[in-house]
């Protein structure tokens, strides 16, 4: 088939299945990035435009931990996740909360400003060169019949599921988790029963950033890092969050897998470049026709 010079091929079911399975692995990472975004949206009701640049920053942290400390990227998680939490907490408490005066559209623009600062600082200090962590096991893996899964992919899938589960348990069983959910549901009411809303905002932002830091560790063996590497992920994470429903954890997970599989199949059928149009198309259609997404409750 030929469509304006774009050739659409026909494949055997093994190839398609193999592509879909690699989409599941990719989707796990998207889900993890989207998880942080959806949490922040659920509580603060804003899209965090700095999310992608925070991911990029965490990827640099993992890379430098590997270069200077010789840390394995998965071990680096022990440093970058608490570091990410602290950074996110400070960012919300010290910058975003301070300048926004509680106005949503200003929070939106403030996160965009932060994204500009972080991205260009990376450009300025680390240059635009692409860098990548080299691990010994990045090409080893398990043969799944229709496709070959390398260990970094399997670890990314397992890690994402585990972190989602932990976060869910945290939200359901701890006092802080309950406070976060209370603030997300009813800000004024939560304030009245004595919850420190500013603190909860910052905690949520911190957890969101910690999720991104964990994602960075899981991504490090398979992706290069450069100042713009967050941009692509953040666009996809926006799509995942909108598809799954803003503020919904299950939605982020399911949405991540749907987008991962769609992207891989899109690449298979439409080619590396045009394949990405499937993501933009889903994004636009969901925004227009079902802005609450698959699992979201609140209309915008």
């Amino acid at each position: 088939m030929d469509f304006f010079g774009v050739n659409i091929p026909v494949y055997s079911w093994e190839t398609v299945l193999g592509s879909a399975i690699s989409g599941v692995f990719l989707g796990a990472i998207y889900a993890l990035v989207a998880l942080g975004l959806t949490l922040i949206y659920g509580v603060l009701h804003i899209i965090n435009f700095a999310h992608g640049s925070l991911l990029m920053l965490a990827m640099y942290a993992v890379y430098f931990a590997w270069v200077y400390l010789g840390l394995d990227p998965y071990l680096a998680m022990l440093i970058v996740v608490p570091g990410g939490f602290a950074f996110g907490y400070a960012l919300q408490r010290g910058v975003i909360g301070k300048v926004s005066h509680g106005r949503d559209e200003i929070i939106l623009l403030a996160t965009l400003g932060l994204a500009i600062i972080i991205e260009n600082s990376a450009q300025f200090f680390f240059s635009a060169n692409e860098r990548q962590v080299q691990v010994r096991y990045d090409l080893d893996g398990i043969d799944l019949g229709v496709t070959f899964a390398v260990y970094p992919e399997l670890l990314a899938l397992g890690g994402s599921l585990l972190i989602t589960l932990l976060l869910w348990l945290f939200m359901v069983y701890t006092d802080t988790g309950k406070a976060i959910r209370a603030v997300a549901k009813e800000r004024r009411g939560a304030q009245l029963v004595g919850i420190n809303v500013e603190h909860i905002f910052a905690i949520s932002f911190g957890i969101g950033t910690a999720c991104v830091a964990a994602a960075a560790s899981l991504l490090a063996p398979t992706y290069t890092v450069h100042p713009q590497s967050g941009y692509l992920f953040v666009l996809i994470a926006f799509t995942v969050v909108v598809l799954g429903g803003m503020g919904s954890f299950v939605g982020a997970l399911v949405g991540g897998f749907i987008i991962g599989i769609t992207e891989q199949l899109g690449r298979l059928y439409l080619g590396e470049s045009l394949g990405l149009i499937t993501i933009s198309a889903i994004f636009i259609l969901i925004l227009l026709f079902r802005p609450t997404g698959l699992f979201g409750q609140r209309a915008p």
Binding site: E105, L109, G113, Q123, F124
Partner: protein, 345 residues
């Protein structure tokens, strides 16, 4: 400040811009001014929709890129004259604006959602312009042929081989004319019924509707006007550089450039985008010079500064530089008045 005083001030600023080439002869300065005015036009495009209409678009590259691509492709593929291609590029930009506006406003997208959908459309166009190689030349971009015939410089809208005056100042006056048209249109809009309705929709859409304003129609008008001005910036870009590619046209940097200047200068004011553009690019250039003395030239510094100023303005001067200067002026006037009344007594 009185209306006459303000008009006088702006008239002086415009006159200064018109007469600028008399004062500066260095090519580098003219380049800098051209770029600043270009950003001021881009910013005014954003300001119509974002500043006056309260609809924050994060994908204005959509309109810039469409204008730039149509201007390039109509000449490259079909041999259009640039002066004819221009109108199609303008119409194309407005049409894309209208289509995106129709979809977004029809389905009631506001705030974060509107920002997201504009971003999504810009990204979709980015992917499409990179992928349909038979139409757009793909990632290689479109390179227009350089006209080397001085006789045809004006006909080809290319000043590289024109006479000495046009070669030096042709594009400066081109962007200045575009700027004056865009700013005059904004100034006029502010004084029409449409402008008042747009501001009402920004302040409170539901209340505006209750007063009988058709918010959908008002927002459609705003996005079309906004897209038209932004597409004009794209047309200028293509003629100036004779080159466009998917990253320049639809990448995120033009969308960001478009919104930084008006926010810093003053949202919803006629001259905010110009003041913002002059301020940030002046500062950016200065910072580059300073850092160039101690460090090798590295990209990114000016944008770091823009980001910091953006956040500071958002937090502490929501009405931008125009707001700050008006506050200072009012205080000075108050001082003078109190001093006067004291001396009178």
């Amino acid at each position: 400040m009185t209306e006459t005083g303000r008009t006088l001030l702006w008239a002086t600023l415009i006159l200064a811009l018109v007469a600028m080439p008399l004062a500066v002869s260095s090519g580098r300065w003219i380049e800098f001014l051209e770029f600043t005015l270009f950003v001021a036009v881009l910013g005014q495009g954003w300001n119509i929709l974002g500043g006056y209409g309260g609809q924050y678009s994060f994908g204005h590259a959509l309109f810039f890129g469409t204008g730039a691509y149509l201007q390039a492709l109509l000449q490259f593929k079909f041999g259009f004259s640039p002066w004819i291609a221009m109108w199609f590029a303008l119409a194309g930009g407005i049409a894309v604006g209208g289509a995106v506006g129709f979809l977004s406003f029809r389905y009631g997208l506001r705030g974060s959602y509107f920002a997201l959908i504009t971003l999504a459309f810009a990204e979709a166009f980015h992917v499409l312009s990179r992928s349909f190689i038979s139409i757009t030349e793909g990632g290689r971009g479109v390179q227009l042929a350089l006209n080397q015939d001085p006789e045809r410089a004006l006909a080809m809208f290319q000043f590289n081989f024109a006479g000495p005056f046009l070669r030096a100042y042709g594009f400066y006056y081109t962007i200045l004319i575009i700027l004056l048209l865009a700013y005059a249109a904004t100034w006029w809009m502010e004084r029409t019924r449409f402008g008042a309705q747009l501001i009402a929709v920004r302040e409170n859409e539901d209340a505006a509707e209750a007063l009988g304003i058709n918010a959908f129609r008002v927002k459609m008008g705003a996005i079309c006007m906004s897209a038209g001005i932004t597409a004009f910036a794209g047309i200028y870009y293509t003629q100036k550089f004779l080159f466009i590619d998917p990253g320049i046209a639809y990448g995120p940097s033009k969308s960001i450039e478009a919104l930084v200047a008006p926010i810093i200068g003053g949202l919803g004011t006629v001259f905010g985008p110009l003041i913002g553009a002059i301020f940030i690019h002046g500062l950016g250039e200065f910072a580059k010079e300073m850092i160039g003395l101690v460090w090798a030239d590295r990209p990114g510094l000016d944008l770091i500064l823009f980001g910091i100023i953006l956040i500071l303005v958002l937090g502490f001067a929501p009405r931008g530089l125009v707001g700050i200067s008006e506050a200072i002026w009012n205080r000075v006037r108050y001082r003078i008045r109190t001093l006067r009344s004291k001396t009178d007594a």
